[in-house]
């Protein structure tokens, strides 16, 4: 994988008021790979992930320095269009909560925002996205029923389909399976592996096995710093840093 990184970040600091939550992160992401962000809770994984599509912007008293680029474009530049950025960089959250609408309306939400009204286009997008999110067979007959009636795992996959419909280049996932049962989790994990040929996937996970199974690269965060970025295989078999070794062997975190 010698492809140029799609996202680069250099010396990223983030302060919540006086509290420095990120202390200088240098991290790049390659296309068609899954990068897992791991680390103890409070180490800044979510904070970093949310920087990548500017979900932190509205938090009061926040200060962000450093340089984050998508396709070499500084995403914190003053002329950057946040709406466009978020179409390129989609996000899936921990809680499997679709909107309280029908499954169909959930999936086309982003397209309708963009002004697409053509029924055929929307229908097609619904089918493709739900298929890609591996939830088409369960939902194809109940597209117009409330998405809230689905099981947790199905709801999370609808949430993923909702992101896929917008055709982003990058998908951010913040602990997407931590609210789900093991079977639903592994289905979603498998689906992500299938998706990576078309997307750049960045996933926060607290589940080390999941990181080891599903990701190509692993980035280990500790106390607002990036301790190690390594190929996943190397990270889990021969970590470069002492802290990494301690963490994966369960000595803290």
């Amino acid at each position: 994988m010698a492809a140029a990184p799609i996202i680069t970040s250099r010396d990223v600091h983030l302060y919540y008021g006086k509290h420095e939550a990120l202390k200088g992160i240098d991290l790049d992401f390659n296309p068609q790979q899954i990068t897992a962000l791991i680390g103890p809770s409070g180490s800044g994984k979510s904070t970093y992930l949310r920087l990548l599509n500017r979900m932190n912007d509205l938090i009061p008293n926040i200060k962000i320095t450093g340089d984050i680029r998508l396709y070499q474009q500084d995403i914190y530049a003053s002329d950057m269009d946040i709406v466009q950025l978020r179409k390129e960089v989609g996000m899936v959250f921990q809680q499997p909560h679709p909107f309280p609408f029908s499954i169909y309306d959930n999936v086309v939400y982003g397209l309708r925002l963009a002004g697409i009204k053509d029924r055929a286009v929307l229908d097609q997008a619904v089918e493709t996205s739900l298929k890609a999110a591996a939830v088409w067979t369960e939902t194809k007959d109940i597209l117009h029923e409330s998405a809230l009636a689905l099981s947790g795992g199905q709801r999370q996959r609808v949430c993923i389909a909702r992101v896929l419909a917008v055709k982003p280049a990058v998908i951010l996932l913040d602990e997407p399976t931590s609210a789900l049962d093991p079977i639903s989790s592994s289905k979603i994990e498998q689906m992500l592996v299938d998706l990576k040929k078309d997307y750049t996937i960045i996933m926060v996970t607290h589940n080390l096995q999941q990181a080891a199974r599903a990701s190509d690269k692993t980035a280990f965060f500790l106390d607002g710093q990036l301790v190690e970025l390594n190929d996943t295989v190397n990270f889990f078999t021969a970590p470069a840093k002492k802290e990494s070794e301690d963490y994966i062997s369960g000595r803290f975190g």
């Binding site: 979900m55 978020r86 989609g90 996000m91 959250f93 909560h97 909107f99 925002l113 809230l148 992101v163």
Partner: protein
């Protein structure tokens, strides 16, 4: 008996307290239920007397337009057509709700979505203050400010549906606003985040997700405001003109169920037709408040199923 068994069977102090508490609670509830039933029975027995004792036809009562319980027509049937008051009540209620709703929801959006800090600091105490003002004050302001302004703008006396609407609008606005605020606040944060992450602007998020998710709560707020407007007596009575006539425009004197009731009930003799007819109006009011209640519950249940 072995001691463990004995200990298990002995009633603990907590269990006894629990039992006593439940008994007291039950007593209180029974009392409330009794009061409600008594009110219904009383109003119904008086209100229905118009129909079975004074032989007024129910349909005539609801659809005739002449309200003059003291006089009888050529067939000896008293002139008790309540339609003008029914229409008056519904008109002021609906107009007040129509005007108040956009203001209330707009203010609620400002307080929860646009500027929560400033909104909560200024608008919240203001609305709470407004809720606490007695209705006679609203009526008085209506009488001294709203009525003269309407008189100047539209001619006539200034009294009428329009003046009633204005006063009720101000009266229900705080209630509807604060209930709308609660409804919007109850929309979970993750809906907003997810919408923003899909490329929605803040405004798109508000009207496509937040308002839609809050819809049951917002409807409840509106119906609640309508119930309050429908039942408000004093303030409306001060500005509506109190003429039991079909309102032909918004600035001619009219009447509502409540205004006729409060004006008339002290001047009639218990058991007379005039008195019974007023109780019939009260019965309509009671039934309508029941309807409002049912609507609110129904909306609540629909909303509960959806989320």
């Amino acid at each position: 008996m072995d001691p463990i068994r004995q200990r298990l069977l002995k009633k603990s102090r907590q269990a006894k307290l629990e039992k006593r508490g439940r008994l007291i609670g039950l007593l209180c509830i029974s009392l409330i239920v009794l009061v409600v039933v008594a009110i219904f029975y009383f109003v119904a027995s008086r209100g229905l007397a118009t129909f079975y004792h004074d032989k007024v036809n129910l349909w005539d009562f609801l659809t005739k337009q002449v309200w003059n319980p003291g006089t009888k027509d050529s067939h000896g049937v008293p002139a008790v057509g309540a339609l003008p008051m029914i229409v008056g009540s519904f008109l002021v209620t609906i107009f007040a709700a129509l005007v108040a709703t956009p203001f209330a929801i707009g203010a609620a959006i400002f307080m929860t979505e646009i500027s929560p800090r400033r909104g909560m600091r200024i608008l919240k105490p203001v609305t709470e203050l407004l809720v606490g003002i007695p209705s006679v004050v609203y009526g008085f302001i209506g009488l001294t400010v709203v009525v003269p302004v309407i008189r100047r703008l539209f001619g006539g006396t200034g009294f009428g549906i329009l003046a009633g609407t204005c006063v009720l609008f101000v009266m229900i606005l705080p209630t509807v606003t604060s209930m709308s605020v609660d409804a919007l606040k109850a929309v979970p944060r993750y809906y907003r985040d997810a919408s923003a992450a899909l490329g929605a602007t803040r405004w798109q998020t508000i009207y496509k997700v937040v308002l839609r998710a809050a819809m049951p709560g917002l409807l409840t707020a509106i119906v609640f405001g309508m119930a309050r407007a429908f039942g408000e007596a004093l303030a409306v009575q001060m500005v509506i003109g109190n003429a039991a006539l079909m309102p032909h425009n918004l600035v001619s004197p009219a009447a509502t169920l409540t205004s006729v009731l409060t004006l008339g009930i002290g001047n009639t003799i218990m058991g007379s037709l005039e008195n019974n007819a007023l109780w019939s109006l009260a019965l309509i009011l009671l039934l309508m408040s029941l309807v409002f209640n049912l609507v609110i519950r129904w909306i609540g249940r629909k909303g509960a199923v959806k989320s």
